[in-house]
Symmetry: C3
Subunit: 417 residues, 3 copies
């Protein structure tokens, strides 16, 4: 294989280095850093003063409790980081000969999403801006990164590395706009989506589908996406990491006394989805498809999002079973039809894992809020905004050219010989 790889390497045309774009990206990063300097940015300066004040006052119980609750949230923020990097990163390693690209893209979009979200949110009006030195802001930034990672699952394998970066730079403002529209603008008062079935999962999924819509013709004669037992093994690792840290995702920002309830509901939903995935994979296909296990088993986590801190374990188990079944049906039956409909390829099947189960979760919340109109209109608006902005982003990204070898590391990475 070594010799073979070497020869291959010579034939391969490298994707050219686009120096101007890279230097533009660098400038954006440096500017982002500069605008956060305390003397320019009230939100950073205020955060530092608060910490120093707290330090001089730390004997008071109240200050202790707020520090402790923040630190407990910090633990969950690390769990979410594990999901972002190892979880999503390795889940996307299943594409054969594309592991380096999947991992590097994950590293890059996380590194763009978190600072960019926090920089944008450190400006703007009083109801929009958030303290830059604050655990909640970090968690919201991580949610944005998760949504972006979901979105890149659709075009995965067909973008150059700098196109992932560009997609990240376009996605974050779009995500912040939708988040504001649905949760902060006051237009959808009473919309329930604690764990982000809609604003995180469905938004990311339909943004991603927007990016790939009408791109099928462009990649028509290119090699197809393949996987192997070895790459799928890494994918299953990513899947397990997502599964086990999911309770920290849904409980990240719930009220302190609801963390345990949220965790138990989330675990029950995941258990239900995992079991239903095995069952329906076997019933529908005759044998078990490992892609179902790696993905659909997580659909319970997606669907429980909206109601994670309000429902009870029995209902959570039922939601999970429904989500797992829906997701397997998505992978086995709906996916080919959808790809024909949008004329684009959804590499990771994000509609099956994040799209449809997310919408299911948003709809189930009606039983709790009793406000079908608010809930449904919030869902429809999110899906439309996501798809439309994704479509526009897809057109902008395509201006940066085309990856030389789809589903391959060879054109952008040195491969070991």
């Amino acid at each position: 294989m070594t010799e073979h790889a070497k020869k291959q390497s010579k034939k391969v045309q490298s994707t050219p280095v686009n120096k101007d774009v890279l230097l533009l990206f660098l400038s954006i990063f440096i500017i982002a850093a500069l605008v956060l300097i305390p003397s320019f940015n009230h939100n950073v300066a205020a955060g530092m003063s608060a910490i120093n004040a707290e330090a001089s006052n730390s004997a008071a119980s109240l200050s202790h409790f707020s520090t402790i609750y923040d630190t407990l949230k910090y633990e969950r923020s690390i769990h979410v980081l594990a999901m972002l990097l190892v979880g999503f990163g390795f889940l996307m390693v299943f594409v054969r000969n594309h592991g380096y690209s999947s991992i590097t893209a994950t590293f890059l979009v996380v590194s763009i999403a978190i600072p960019m979200y926090m920089v944008i949110k450190s400006f703007g009006g009083e109801e929009f801006s958030m303290s830059t030195i604050n655990i909640d802001t970090l968690l919201f930034a991580e949610f944005a990164a998760a949504s972006l990672l979901i979105a890149i699952g659709a075009p995965l394998g067909r973008l150059k590395m700098d196109q992932y970066v560009a997609m990240g730079l376009l996605f974050i403002p779009a995500y912040i706009f939708n988040e504001w529209l649905i949760l902060e603008s006051g237009l959808f008062k009473g919309f329930l989506d604690t764990g982000g079935s809609i604003v995180i999962h469905a938004f990311g999924a339909y943004f991603g589908l927007g990016v790939v819509a009408n791109t099928l013709a462009k990649f028509k004669d290119d090699p197809a996406c393949e996987n192997t037992p070895a790459t799928n093994q890494f994918c299953l690792l990513g899947s397990m990491i997502l599964w086990l840290f999911w309770p920290s995702f849904t409980s990240a920002i719930v009220a302190p006394e609801r963390v345990v309830l949220t965790a138990i509901n989330t675990i029950f939903a995941l258990c239900g989805a995992t079991f239903a995935t095995y069952l329906f994979s076997k019933l529908i296909r005759g044998k078990i498809e490992i892609e179902d296990i790696a993905n659909a088993a997580l659909a319970g986590g997606v669907a429980i999002g909206s109601t994670c801190d309000m429902t009870t374990p029995g209902y959570a188990l039922l939601i999970g079973i429904a989500a797992g079944a829906l997701s397997v049906i998505g992978y086995s039956i709906i996916a080919p039809k959808l790809e024909a409909l949008i004329k684009g390829t959804d590499t990771c099947g994000i509609n099956n894992l994040h799209g449809m189960p997310g919408i299911l979760g948003g709809i189930v919340a009606i039983f709790i809020t009793g406000r079908p109109f608010v809930q449904l209109s919030g869902i429809v608006v999110t899906v439309c905004v996501a798809f439309a902005l994704g479509k526009v982003s897809g057109m902008l990204i395509s201006l940066l050219g085309k990856k030389e070898m789809p589903y391959s590391d060879e054109d952008e990475f040195f491969l070991a010989e």
Copy 2:
């Protein structure tokens, strides 16, 4: 390899889809969900009321402390989940061409064990039932899942997927019975087993051995279990995950002020076992056997269980050294004799990792409790109950038929071509 695998695939006879069994399993899950609905189940309703009451009262310090301690336990419950899925799951991936099955079986039995334990414990008398929405109940359910994962290590590779499910459904009531008998019935008052050397590790191990006892003839002409450097690499990942989160397993339910002591004792025991494993593997075998490193290094965690919150680091180091040595001797010398004795194959060597080191841990506790009779009789009873119920379960499971290709994914999974 691709072409080869493809050809193989055609020759392979798929394990038939047993629809009735699958639908029976689904019904069990749905019934489990229904019996937890608050209006039917006092334990769920009471849990929700308590949370809502706490919310309205969260200014009081006492309520804060209870919420905080619960959330700290929650963090440990996530660590234990990491052990269950990535730890046990990947530890069992060492079997060549059986990675999909090992991972899927792990996902499934965890998804069965946790809800089933919590459903059963939400009923029964006052001294038996536990609140369904409670972090302690979740932790006990995770312990049950750990014990079950230990047990499936014995027949690993020789069961069909639905037989793992059936084994889970039979195991959990057996585990709950033994847990009640030893810890709650009052018959073994003063029995010390904080971290579960006996009720978790030894119970799982001897239940698993019971399942495989007298099954050797059945699999006589089947291919043997193999491993490769690549599969062993994944196995070592599982081993490391188990090692590093083990302090959260032993300290999961200890008193808050004993968490740090328990963690330090556990780490010292693991360090001692790891070092002894290297040493005895080299001394006994001449070269290092990676199976020893992946497994016996963990024996310190098993053996420290009973006394984890009562002993001190020096003793913990000695217990760890003894457990590591015992476990290597188990893998290298005792295992073949035991397999001849019980006429069955112990795929993962659970007797060497969980059986004997667990018993060692239970015996060491005598130095702390000073009650040799209670301690020894608790051990003997657990081993006998586990083996007997395992034997019965093994016979029931075998009614579901026989896996077409032992130690292979091919008969139950689509393999990438």
Copy 3:
């Protein structure tokens, strides 16, 4: 491959079992255990009394807060363990056919470093000794283990397993000496290094370079270090684990109210370094080198160490960008020159990841402390002490002989056939 490996195996000369050395090591472990027995060791006895006193008094708020803060630190200590084992362990798996050795060496040196640090620190004068049953002591011991793991990255692949053990036994006292000299002796008052850019990262790096200095001739005709996509994939897993738990490393011992600030600064530094790594790898080399992504992306975490709890996110992002760029320049341009200079091979490139970025971090701290002399002299002394003691250790280690097959598992492990 199986048959081939089998044949190879026969040709290979095993590294001989050095029984005396192994038994000496065992005695050291047992003595370490004995000196910690409470009746001999005041620090253990005092720790146990404190815990028992706390238990009887746990109603008081003050005692609650101290228990809670300790438990929050405990969570971070587990995160650091994840970095030590899975992070460093798998980062070192990139060497082809050397995975078992990398993982086993990681297990062993962690198992030596933690107890040894705590045993040594449980003796000595009042200003030197630390309570043995204490979360801070455990964290400091984990830092020592991290520094040792950095150091073994230099000779990785060219030491026998018992030489790693010997290197650990020599390293820990050297590390404790430097830690005392810089932070406790009072000679460098005002030296800022909260997250250990200097005392952990730079010390480990230059100790390791000392070990390999002047060893090139010895390994002249030996096979070279190779890597493959599969081994690099595991390496990237290690890298991600290090990345995501890094905030817990830097915030491990900061004041409670500074944990969130430290975490956000650390994440921003890592984001900056990750982005800069991609950019400079592509600009300097034309294609992306995966070794850069796996390593240089972490340089931000190394460099933010000294100032992690004092700076703000914007500056952190800039420090990260600088560190990432410096590290890529190290891997691509400086490394070959350095190896020629010291006449030794730095397998993992620890100078590029931990050495130079560590020094950068120490220098940046001058802007905060305003004490250039103290800061610079602390850096110079650490580098000199590390290199000199590393050189001496390297000479002592070489007395134990030479590994039969560099960069190979075959001489010390049974390989699956």
